[in-house]
Amino acid sequence: MQIPVEGFMYPNEVELQWSILIVLYPFITGLVAGAFILASLERVFRVEAVKPTYRLALLTALAFLLVAPLPLQLHLGHPERSLEMYLTPHRSSAMAMFGFVYLWYLMAVLLLEIWLDYRRDIVVKSQTTTGVTRLIYRVLTLGSSNISERSLHIDERLGYFITVIGIPSAFLLHGYVGFIFGSVKANPWWSSPLMPIVFIFSAMVSGIAVVMLLYMISTRLRRREIDICCLDKIAQYLFYIFVIDFSLEMLDLLQRIYEADESFRSLDFMVHTRLWTSQVIVQIVCGTVTPIVLLGLTQILSLTDTVRKRIYALAGCLTVIGIFAMRWNVVIGGQLFSKSFLGYTTYKMAFATREGLLTAITLLILPFIFLLVLVKLLPPWPDAGPVPASGASPAHGTS
């Protein structure tokens, strides 16, 4: 397969080493961190309005977190060796240390918080279900079925404490991904101390957008009424954080343009040619400015519930696409230009290979399957909760 090259590339730059799977890695970890931070909002800052999404956000974070290492495993090959990262830790390798960041976040934060929050439900289920299901819940109770007032209160306090630890951990998790790119000093497209910060904010944006969309879709599927107050609140957060994210990225851009170091002409040319569609059109125009304007409109104008819901759905989808494009432009864009600043190569994505498009699509579907299982196992919504919305209300059916 001949790779089209323009100008001068060093031989080892012609073929991209980091494929679309490495695009998925920051994208998926970002969703984890973002979803968790949304959940923490409710818990730590006691934002009652977003409560309906609290558990859904936690489960979403877990589902995506379970998939997060898979792109790396597939990219590197030899998944059986990944344990060695823990057995013989390599302290001078940023990537190897990510294993510990990941493990900490999974075991010490997310699983604990979910377990404590669901313990009451798990105990109840272990007593009301039968067969294999019962066995699963029995194991999950760890053999203690005490759900007295006091024990639940203790869980609540401990859960709060874990959430407080969890927020910096979520920042660490995704900030670390940004750091892995930002610390590659040989690559001017990545090397920037702002990278971890931009990554965290874009992570929050994408995570909140995904939980918002999942909330809307799951509520429709369950034929319940969407809690519009909750939705408004989430959209408001999305809007604020998106504005911060966008200003940070613009600051980064301003800094680069004014500084105009030796890499600038080359990178500028790349943005105007190879990255024009994915960076300017998809990421900035469609994926950032449009959703910000749409969300801004819902803040200024007083629109009907239906229109707002439609706008939120549209803005949410655009946001997720935009953040995906951002990861793409960071990872792929950073490999398209030569270190000599004299040439550009092309990324040729394979289809049905280990690192091809098909694998990437599968990896993007997988978290939703995990989420489905988790939702079946640990329903995030109160079962006997809000009255079924259908029946009396003919307004049902709007998105």
Partner: protein, 163 residues
Amino acid sequence: MFKDIEHLVRLAAVMAIALIAFATMRALVVPRSFGEYGHYRGDAIAEIAARPVAFAGHDVCEACHIDVVEQKKQGKHVVVPCEACHGAQAKHADDPASVKPAKLDTAVVCARCHEANSAKPKGFPQVATADHAGGLACDICHQPHRPKIETPAATKPATEGKK
């Protein structure tokens, strides 16, 4: 009182078991000599040193293949060691009668060094093999040990120039 934190104690026990299991596994799996010199198994050095030598070095070859040495001296490939093309041949050098080097596919071997690439020094002879040879093996025209092709004017009997 204890009853209300019993589940947490159990959780702590599960975590402790996991940690102990990890520590045990680490003690069992990580090789003794790991980290002796660096982030690798110290014993690996001795093991690698004990492996049989694969490359003999061109001095060894030249002791027997004097004719090839003479030929090579006349061309620029004099600087290229035998095993850069023929591959590791220590076994052959030890026992030439029973181990014979495999025949080379020049279309592959020569392209490894001579395929045109803008990153190579300008002065290095390089060709776009697809255009230059059109899929033919290089040793149809070039004699591998003395690759320069004499001008047709000086055509000699078929023993020279072409192999």
